[in-house]
Symmetry: C3
Subunit: 384 residues, 3 copies
Amino acid sequence: MEQFKSRVKNIEELKDYKQPIAFGIANVDSYKNKSLQASFPVVNYKENYGSFAIFVSALLENNQDMDFSGSEFVANIDINFINTAIKYFEPFMNESYGDKHKNIQVIKALLENIDTGNFKFVAIFEDNAVQSVESAYLKLHLLSLKKVKPREINLDGVFGALPNVAWSGGKPYSLDYLRENEIVLKMSGNYPHIDYVDKFPRYLSHIIPEDNTRILESSKVRFGAYVSAGTTVMPGASYINFNAGTLGVAMVEGRISSSAIVGNGTDLGGGSSILGVLSGTDGNPISVGENCLLGVNSVCGIPLGDGCIIDAGISVLAGSKMYISNADLGKINEINNNALEEKTLFKGVELSGLNGLHFRIDSQSGQMVAKRSTREIKLNKSLH
Amino acid sequence: MEQFKSRVKNIEELKDYKQPIAFGIANVDSYKNKSLQASFPVVNYKENYGSFAIFVSALLENNQDMDFSGSEFVANIDINFINTAIKYFEPFMNESYGDKHKNIQVIKALLENIDTGNFKFVAIFEDNAVQSVESAYLKLHLLSLKKVKPREINLDGVFGALPNVAWSGGKPYSLDYLRENEIVLKMSGNYPHIDYVDKFPRYLSHIIPEDNTRILESSKVRFGAYVSAGTTVMPGASYINFNAGTLGVAMVEGRISSSAIVGNGTDLGGGSSILGVLSGTDGNPISVGENCLLGVNSVCGIPLGDGCIIDAGISVLAGSKMYISNADLGKINEINNNALEEKTLFKGVELSGLNGLHFRIDSQSGQMVAKRSTREIKLNKSLH
Amino acid sequence: MEQFKSRVKNIEELKDYKQPIAFGIANVDSYKNKSLQASFPVVNYKENYGSFAIFVSALLENNQDMDFSGSEFVANIDINFINTAIKYFEPFMNESYGDKHKNIQVIKALLENIDTGNFKFVAIFEDNAVQSVESAYLKLHLLSLKKVKPREINLDGVFGALPNVAWSGGKPYSLDYLRENEIVLKMSGNYPHIDYVDKFPRYLSHIIPEDNTRILESSKVRFGAYVSAGTTVMPGASYINFNAGTLGVAMVEGRISSSAIVGNGTDLGGGSSILGVLSGTDGNPISVGENCLLGVNSVCGIPLGDGCIIDAGISVLAGSKMYISNADLGKINEINNNALEEKTLFKGVELSGLNGLHFRIDSQSGQMVAKRSTREIKLNKSLH
């Protein structure tokens, strides 16, 4: 144990040493030396610096370079690395099971599988633009494991870093591989069943959700989504993109576009849409507060506070004009620190982030109005 | 044969004997003795009481308890049960194939597979709240095999009875199993490809549809849905929940929420929604009649009679106000037994269940109107 | 080589010889001699007539009938056919790899797999109604390989020609097979995991998309769809039916119904719908031009020119009435060859195919208006 501690200390005193933001060991799928997917059984985020030091030590011991100068670092792992790590982790070996010493459990599993997989050590030192498949997957893990919230981590460059691949049963196939072998695969009846073609895998390919989370179709949640316990994602017209998600219990029958965040207790009706920054809004990400209801086929193009309702089929966009009666204005101001000036016509963007609004269209005049909501939204408990 | 008859008679004269509402033998997937899924190759609903008596007899013969006192009963099946049942079914053994004596065919298949599966005898005596995974699956089979219609069977407690599990290729994985083995599964490349996480499986995992039924994506129909011959379910924004469905030929490009029922010849346009009782309506289930059209992205929040149309993009809710001209009121009353009083403004709920309505919005005034429909809805025959 | 050329010439001089529109060799899945699916590793469209002649020659040499009198022809392939073809193709044998001589590569792969598959030679001579599973698949390949555009090939009879089957991992199961074996399959735990039930397979079961094409869920694109490079199909509420598709880079979060065509640079927002001829329009197929935006949950029921916008949630149908101000009318006429007469109210159908329109609803008056669009639609480059 003393040896362990001094070894960690020695590493941390190296001239160029930097603490990582995140690190982990990945099982990497590749084709012709190009990484296609990186699976991390365990991800460390601002934690377990001792294990990190041991991994660095095992790399150096086996004459592998360790480079702290970039924003991220990726190294191949071989049997020597594993044997060294096992030796250094000796004091904890017998107590690494269940929830304890998960990084050591990874090393043990590595020992069993080193001949059949392609394993890499991955570390991120600065939250800069993504530069590799491995660091992209590490960052997406941070989001989907809820170690960071949507918009809290830098995903610039992720589309460039990730190759577009064909996925079959969770395994990525290079499109080139399929092209080069199409004739033989099809004539032999061995052409793989392709589930989808995308740069990102699906959330459920990497993440085990909480007991009371339901995702009724894996395509509906992209890897990198943030899905809180008690969220139900129905299979009709729903979607949760990467870098977007739910902060609590939520019913998701609509679309949460990239960068959009949905609060606890909120119900997104079937086919409703929250616009995202990748295509839709002018670049301002949208948050929807707690206990809101987006009605069936409604559209939310502005941030909403808590307790808001958009009626079914209504589109609330930044430029939509909405009438607010004097009476309602008073009630809305009462719970929103008098945020609104006294007038009767408001653009959607002026109502951004306010609590307790109910957006409606008068079905006889066609007028879009915002009122003080009088209805409390409660999710059906048996569904979450 | 005489022996068979007298054996059945003896069982039926047992002091506590009760005829079952439904019974069957299930292949049960489980983890750590907790049932996860029950597959019934044959389900009996108010029928085949002789076979039921024989199964009871085989249980008793092998010193297994048989309890008629509860609303449902589940027993494990072993090789002794099978051998006894085969002996008792002797008179029918040679003629049990094709559509004949399906319960005996089940026993024969049991004999071949008893060592590799986990089989249970399941019976329901009273239509009370669901108390087990096995009875939940039996009831969901009754719905999806169209032995009972949606809303005709008691599904209270079904969310509590069914565990939330991860599904891979039709097989349920306990979330705990995945957590306990995540590191080894991921490092060995054997982490299962998860299709979805839900309490319910999918309709197509258990049900073989009629020849002219098409379900273009299995996630779109939950097990427990009622799907009539000639129904086409498209993969865009559609969904049929459990305890909901179609009573005849139908085009389903929209959502049929739990408890909602759609009549023969009806077309649910892409992205249309029929609200359900689990989240949406105030608890009143919605039926849509025959030969109706719900336009693309429309919302139906009230029951509709036959021959109704909701135009594309329009939301008809219980509280929506609709204008009806005097001329249209006369025509509507003519085919609806003068159901409407003479006025011009109606709430959606007042128009519940009427035939021949056409819901529109005047595109110049924004006024929502209901008219007497003049257009006959006919489905494209090549699609059903 | 001289022999090869004279052999081709001899065949082409046969009395009844006809040049095929398309031909290919298929790996056919079947059940009880009924074809269920035909996989073509290579498809020839108005090309490679020499290879066609050699295939015909190999059939005749082995005493198989070759019938040029119908609009299509299907023949079984055996080892004699293959050996003969290999002999005739001798001069090209060594240079058939990569992109060269793909039909010969097929013959080589056939030689390896003749014992384990069911192979057929398929030719189409006249573009008449589809008469077989094999010619249906050949025509659908022509569309999805972008050898013909949507609406350019005769697909009459395709629903009748294709059987409705259950698909599992890309393999078709006859529904009868499942029925006949249900009990044994379920009791042994071998019941196949059914992905969908349909007459058509999915696009990704047969087609390798371009590098910058993404299809995030295979169910969202039917085989026979035309998907151009740079198209992204999101998994929310999207769909591309057969005989429909995109002519260039496009974001598809909405539905492209059968017969509908979408131009380069166009963005179909989440849940938007373009009506199709199978159910929806009156039979006139809809084209949407270049650089258009169909807003979230909008409906497009008329053809659009280039640079058009339909705002979120708005339905533009043939019968919708739209107001155009005099000022906007002038600007619209300016870029559309004065197509519109001077008035202020237009039906949707009157605006068919015009460029530069922006369809909106005034959120205070409920009036639907068409204006001259002032916004340029640009897709996010990192998504395509």
